[in-house]
């Protein structure tokens, strides 16, 4: 997988839009979920997803280790989302009550299955840091060292925090096994 990704990145750096298109296809699910869990807003997550891939396309030449693309694009997505959250919070502070009310309830895409909705609603009850950790750690292509680098914390903290976040999630979802399996 890493070699294939590295090859696609190499070609995309040379300007091959089709290769970057395949990278987008492979990572949209991950990047969208990351943005959704951070912002808790489906529409905002869609925009952030687009913004992340555009930033990635423009800055791709600066990526020296081609196989490190997943962690690199996740870092861009995280920073872009954090900036968007910051901007939204500032808007709320200056009294845009309408948008503040809009974001009290997290919005999810209508196409999600009932099990996915239950899972996402449970994840929303975790802290912003735990939501990021859970999302990054379950992405197969990232090691705990890479997650630590993205989150700017130690690998040990990642492991301990992830364990705690999973426990919290388990407590929230206790008794919903059957609904989750549907």
């Amino acid at each position: 997988m890493n070699e294939a990704t590295a090859k696609l990145v190499k070609d995309a750096i040379k300007g091959d839009r089709d290769s970057y298109g395949i990278l987008i296809q492979n990572y949209t699910g991950f990047i969208y979920t990351m943005a959704l869990r951070m912002t808790q807003d489906h529409h905002m997550a869609e925009d952030l997803c687009q913004e992340t891939f555009i930033k990635g396309w423009i800055k791709l030449k600066s990526l020296k280790k081609h196989e490190a693309f997943p962690g690199w694009i996740a870092t861009i997505a995280r920073r872009t989302s954090l900036n968007a959250i910051d901007k939204r919070n500032r808007k709320k502070e200056v009294g845009e009550e309408e948008s503040a009310l809009e974001n009290l309830n997290p919005t999810l895409p209508p196409s999600y299955s009932p099990a996915r909705v239950i899972l996402e609603e449970a994840i929303y009850r975790l802290s912003l840091r735990d939501r990021q950790l859970i999302t990054l750690s379950y992405f197969q292509e990232l090691s705990s060292d890479e997650v630590a680098k993205i989150m700017d914390i130690s690998a040990g903290t990642v492991r301990v925090s992830l364990m705690r976040a999973r426990e919290k999630l388990k407590t929230i979802l206790k008794g919903k096994e059957n609904e989750l399996l549907t």
Binding site: G29, F30, C49, F53, R79, P109, R116, L119, F139, R166
Partner: protein, 120 residues
């Protein structure tokens, strides 16, 4: 020790979490638009700058050739006295201000660069 339902719940959560970030997990209808053109290095500006410098250089050389440079006493001009005379008009306050500004700049610049890096 975990009980059997606990294990089942954990396994279900793990499975759902992994599939929620896998390729194809994005919502239906989510489409990433086409990518813009990458900003290219402006080679024409480099060319303009080179042409401008060449013309300026040519004009300066022409002007210098007309200044009878062979009559200038270079040994005196580049002597210690000649160089220190250049600074005679600069007060110690001015030098201290310049040093202060340079020090403040060197302190602020790395922070600014870090901030720019974080915002990218």
């Amino acid at each position: 020790m975990n009980s059997l339902p606990d294990n089942r719940l954990e396994a279900t959560i793990d499975q759902l979490l992994a599939s929620s970030v896998s390729p194809g997990s994005e919502p239906e209808g989510l489409h990433i638009g086409s990518m813009p053109s990458r900003p290219e290095f402006q080679w024409m500006y480099v060319l303009y700058a080179l042409v401008g410098l060449s013309i300026s250089g040519f004009l300066i050389v022409q002007w210098l050739l007309g200044q009878h440079l062979e009559e200038i006493d270079y040994i005196h001009l580049f002597s210690l006295n000649g160089i220190t005379a250049l600074f005679s008009g600069v007060s110690s306050v001015t030098l201290a201000t310049l040093f202060g500004l340079a020090a403040a700049g060197s302190l602020i610049l790395p922070e600014k660069l870090k901030f720019m890096y974080r915002t990218l």
